[in-house]
């Protein structure tokens, strides 16, 4: 069944990923494409909150030691179904937004634009910077028995990763 569902759904992928040096530091934009597998949607319908986490870490190469960590940013979205009002609520920080369908709610957490990764002072003109990025459905925040139940199921293992080197800034 898992095979059928994974065939029916498109393979999750990172459709775009961009790190831009700008006036106000380093900003990151990404977009993903995935559909919620049936079992995950079922769990969502039954009131299980889903957590989507995006992590981005900026490193600088160091040949003599472990690479230097410049900055780390993280975003967590929480999607929960409210059966009373039949709406899907997406919480991000203190922000709440309700959507009438699961697809709309998920599309709201699929992409981020202009996510600030580093302050202007933190990144100089040199190269040797790289960004480690990951986007996943975080099961560790689920209730513990749930975690044990879904342990190892491919439906729940949504995990996207990207490592990208920073291009040196163009000469003005």
């Amino acid at each position: 069944m898992a095979l059928v569902s994974s065939l029916a759904l498109a393979e999750p992928q990172l459709t775009s990923f961009e790190v831009v040096r700008g006036e106000d530091g380093l900003t990151l934009s990404f977009a993903t494409r995935f559909d919620l597998p049936a079992s995950v949607e079922d769990a969502l319908l039954k009131g299980v909150p889903l957590y989507f986490v995006a992590d981005a870490t900026l490193f600088r190469d160091r040949w003599y030691w472990r690479d230097q960590l410049i900055s780390r940013v993280s975003r967590t979205w929480r999607v929960i179904y409210q059966p009373l009002t039949r709406t899907y609520r997406v919480s991000f920080g203190g922000l709440n937004q309700s959507y009438p369908s699961a697809a709309e709610a998920v599309s709201a957490v699929r992409r981020v634009a202009g996510w600030k990764l580093a302050e202007p002072g933190q990144v100089d003109a040199g190269d040797g910077y790289y960004v480690e990025f990951s986007y996943k459905l975080d099961t560790t925040l689920l209730p513990r028995p749930m975690q044990i139940g879904i342990d190892g199921q491919p439906d729940w293992s949504l995990h996207l990763e990207r490592v990208q080197r920073l291009a040196a800034p163009k000469e003005p």
Partner: protein, 766 residues
């Protein structure tokens, strides 16, 4: 810290850790502190798994060790294995039973939580809440629609007062007239504060435009915990209705009437509670497989820990239990092998420890007793050896008879004295020894008679002198026999050869007799001689012819015989009363030559030959007495060869010096050797006693005097026959072809002090 106790520590530590973890598990379950438990579940799980793995490792090592020991047949391993198996069985069986029951309980119990009816009820509750809310929304939207129509009837130009009236009729909290794009044109509020109501979402605006009225619920949110989010605005229903325009022709912008009605607080709370419970239930239902896995995993882990703990405890306990037994068994084995060394003691205060202690004490006592026995045996052995040495070196003969009268012990002295191989007769009767029959008869007679008279109190021994003939030559031995009773019916016979002693006594007696006889006889001899000569002197002239001749002959006979008697008496006197020797340094060669000058005729005839040794050390001696000795010996020799033809007769006088290994002079010897008929055996034994002679004439005192003088000089005199074995005589039987007399002088004139000492030593003893 011993190896075993270290093991015990490690094992107990592991067991305690495992037990503590299990307890924390149980505590978490018992207090129903589910969040804590769930939070730390995986941590605890892995920790327990680690402990279990550790325990498994320990148990594996222990099992392998035990199996190896059993295979190697190490002592006590079987008992250990047996005990461990029993203990493990006792520990494991209840655990497995409880586990089985609990497993059933958990898997059924969890399923029973999720009931279809409960689920249905929750669904129904949720539907009920939803229905109520829907009804509320419907009502608000209907009222809003009515109010909007009335507003349209009023011509669209609403005054705030009219709007307020409308609001009161509707019972809404806010009422506002909005423009086409949702901007607020006019609003009235129940609350006095002047806050403009928010603009409605565009979706609501568009749906109101198409369906004349639209409503939505706002603010009924929770974060999954079942209570409204703190600080959020209260739940409310927002309805939007389009205000109908009466004059279509006028190009007026469309307007909306927006009403906001607060949802009753109790309704909102209840609805949220239902939603929360529903969500919780659904979550749990979804996670029940995980829950079941969790509980069963915990249970299994607990079982494994308990079982392993029980196994380890079993091994440890059986080790503890077996150890004193092993100690004991090991000790017994050592004792059986004869090792009575110090035994290990198991240091516990229980009966087993006491047992090992008692065993160690017992072994100690045994060892002590054994060493005591060994010591006394050694002492007895030493005493026996002592006694044996004494017996062996005793000059007396000792024979011990056992209670049957058989020879038990014979010492070499006995063999030497009786000249019979007595030791070969051990275990036989003394009568069986050849030539000892008379001796045996005497001994038994004395023992029997003594046994009868044993009560008379002469301390259990008797003594008797006994003469017996023994040896090939039937020599007469004088024995002093002493008998005694020994414990256990054994009998002891001790005898000494007193032949020499008897001989000495005889010599002593002879001296006395000779002295008195000589004195008594000598006195009348001179008057006899004088009287006879006087008779001849007086009567010779008066007689004639045959008478005169007879007288002369008779007197001559008397005088001759008297003279002979005088000589005899003198010899006797000389023997009895030799003057004390005057010991002075002298050269033996010179002395011999001086004496031999008297025998010039014999020397010239070649009958007497003198061979003097050169470098002869000076001896100390009385020249006069020694002269007589030499004289006597030479005369004896010449007498012995007198019957042989002149050419064949030969007497050799020889001096020589004997040296010790270190080169010091040991003795100076004088030999007088003749080739006469030699001595008879009897003479050889007793020739130094007076009146023993080989000659037809002679007093028999010659050799006795020699012996006496030799004794005075501390010299040794020996008589022997010169024996030729390989002569013409057939069968190699020794043939006597002469006699030899030897004198060994061992006192030399080396130092004046020695001479003086020797002279005082040799002072006359009689």
């Amino acid at each position: 810290m011993t190896k075993a106790s270290r093991w015990a520590w490690v094992i107990s530590l592991v067991v305690v850790t495992g037990a503590a973890l299990v307890l924390s598990f149980l505590l978490a379950i018992a207090t129903n502190n589910r969040s804590f438990y769930e939070e730390h579940y995986s941590w605890l799980f892995w920790l327990n798994l680690t402990v279990a793995a550790l325990l498994m490792l320990v148990i594996g090592i222990a099992a392998v060790r035990m199996v190896l020991r059993v295979q190697r047949g190490k002592f006590g391993s079987r008992l250990l294995l047996k005990l461990a198996a029993i203990f493990a069985l006792v520990g494991v069986l209840p655990g497995v039973l409880i586990y089985t029951v609990s497993y059933q309980f958990v898997s059924r119990g969890i399923e029973s939580w999720f009931d279809v009816r409960v689920e249905g009820a929750l669904d129904a509750g949720l539907a009920l809440g939803r229905g109520t809310l829907d009804a509320q929304i419907n009502e608000v939207s209907q009222q809003t629609l009515l109010a909007a129509e009335r507003l349209g009837d009023m011509g669209g130009d609403a005054q705030p007062l009219a709007l307020e009236r409308l609001r009161e009729q509707m019972g809404a909290s806010d009422l506002a007239i909005l423009g086409a794009s949702g901007q607020v044109l006019l609003s009235v509020s129940r609350t006095t504060e002047l806050s403009k109501p928010e603009r409605p979402p565009l979706s609501l605006l568009s749906s109101a435009r198409s369906a004349r009225v639209a409503a939505q619920l706002e603010g009924l949110d929770d974060d999954g915990s079942g209570v409204p989010v703190a600080g959020s605005p209260p739940a409310r229903i927002r309805a939007l209705a389009i205000v109908p325009s009466t004059d279509v022709a006028l190009a007026r912008q469309e307007r909306f009437l927006m009403a906001t009605a607060l949802l009753p607080a109790t309704l909102a709370t209840n609805a949220l509670a239902v939603q929360s419970a529903y969500r919780e239930y659904q979550q749990r239902s979804l996670a029940r497989e995980g829950l079941r896995k969790m509980y069963i995993g915990t249970l299994t882990l607990t079982l494994i820990l308990a079982v392993f703990g029980a196994l380890l405890l079993a091994v440890t306990l059986s080790n503890q239990l077996v150890k004193p037994l092993l100690l004991l068994a090991e000790g017994v084995r050592q004792v059986a092998k004869g090792d009575l060394g110090v035994k290990q003691v198991f240091g516990s205060r229980d009966e087993l420890g006491g047992l090992t202690r008692s065993f160690a004490d017992m072994t100690g006592q045994l060892s002590e007793a054994r060493s005591l026995v060994q010591r006394s045996v050694a002492q007895v052995e030493a005493a026996r050896t002592n006694l044996q040495t004494i017996l062996d070196n005793l000059s007396s003969g000792v024979i011990v008879f056992d209670r049957e009268g058989l020879i038990d012990t014979v010492n070499p002295g006995a063999t030497r004295i009786v000249r019979q191989p007595l030791s070969a007769y051990r275990g036989r009767r003394l009568d069986e020894v050849e030539g000892m029959e008379a001796f045996a008869a005497m001994v038994w007679r004395r023992f029997e008679s003594h046994a009868d008279a044993a009560e008379s109190g002469d301390r259990g021994h008797w003594q008797e002198a006994f003469d017996m003939e023994t040896g090939a030559n039937r020599d007469t031995l004088s024995l002093l026999v002493r008998g005694a009773f020994m414990p256990q019916g054994a009998r002891l016979v001790v005898f000494d050869d007193i032949t020499e002693l008897v001989s000495a006594q005889r010599i002593e007696a002879w001296s006395e007799v000779a002295r008195r006889l000589a004195h008594e006889i000598k006195n009348p001899l001179t008057p006899i001689q004088l009287s006879a000569e006087r008779l001849e002197h007086k009567l010779a002239a008066k007689l004639e012819g045959a008478d005169q001749a007879m007288l002369t002959r008779a007197v001559a006979t008397i005088v001759t015989q008297v003279q002979a008697m005088k000589t005899l008496v003198n010899e006797f006197r000389d023997y009895a009363r030799l003057p004390a020797a005057q010991l002075l340094p002298l050269d033996l060669n010179v002395l011999v030559a001086e004496v031999l000058s008297l025998y010039a005729t014999a020397q010239e005839a070649g009958t007497l030959v003198f061979a003097a040794a050169a470098d002869l050390p000076l001896i100390v001696g009385d020249a006069t007495q020694l002269r007589q000795v030499i004289h006597n010996l030479v005369q004896n020799g010449l007498d012995a060869v007198a019957e042989r033809p002149v050419g064949l007769a030969l007497v050799r006088v020889k001096t020589e010096a004997a040296y010790t290994e270190q080169g010091a002079v040991r003795a100076v010897r004088l030999h007088v050797i003749d080739n006469g008929p030699g001595f008879t055996d009897k003479v050889l034994k007793r020739s130094f006693e007076p009146y023993v002679t080989t000659k037809s004439k002679g007093t028999g005192l010659g050799l006795a005097v020699v012996k006496k003088i030799a004794d005075e000089h501390g010299a040794r005199a020996r008589l022997m026959n010169v024996v030729v074995t390989d002569s013409a005589g057939a069968q190699g039987i020794p043939v006597v072809c002469g006699a030899q007399v030897s004198l060994s002088f061992s006192k030399f004139a080396l130092a004046p002090a020695l001479t003086v000492a020797a002279s005082t030593d040799t002072a006359p003893a009689h």
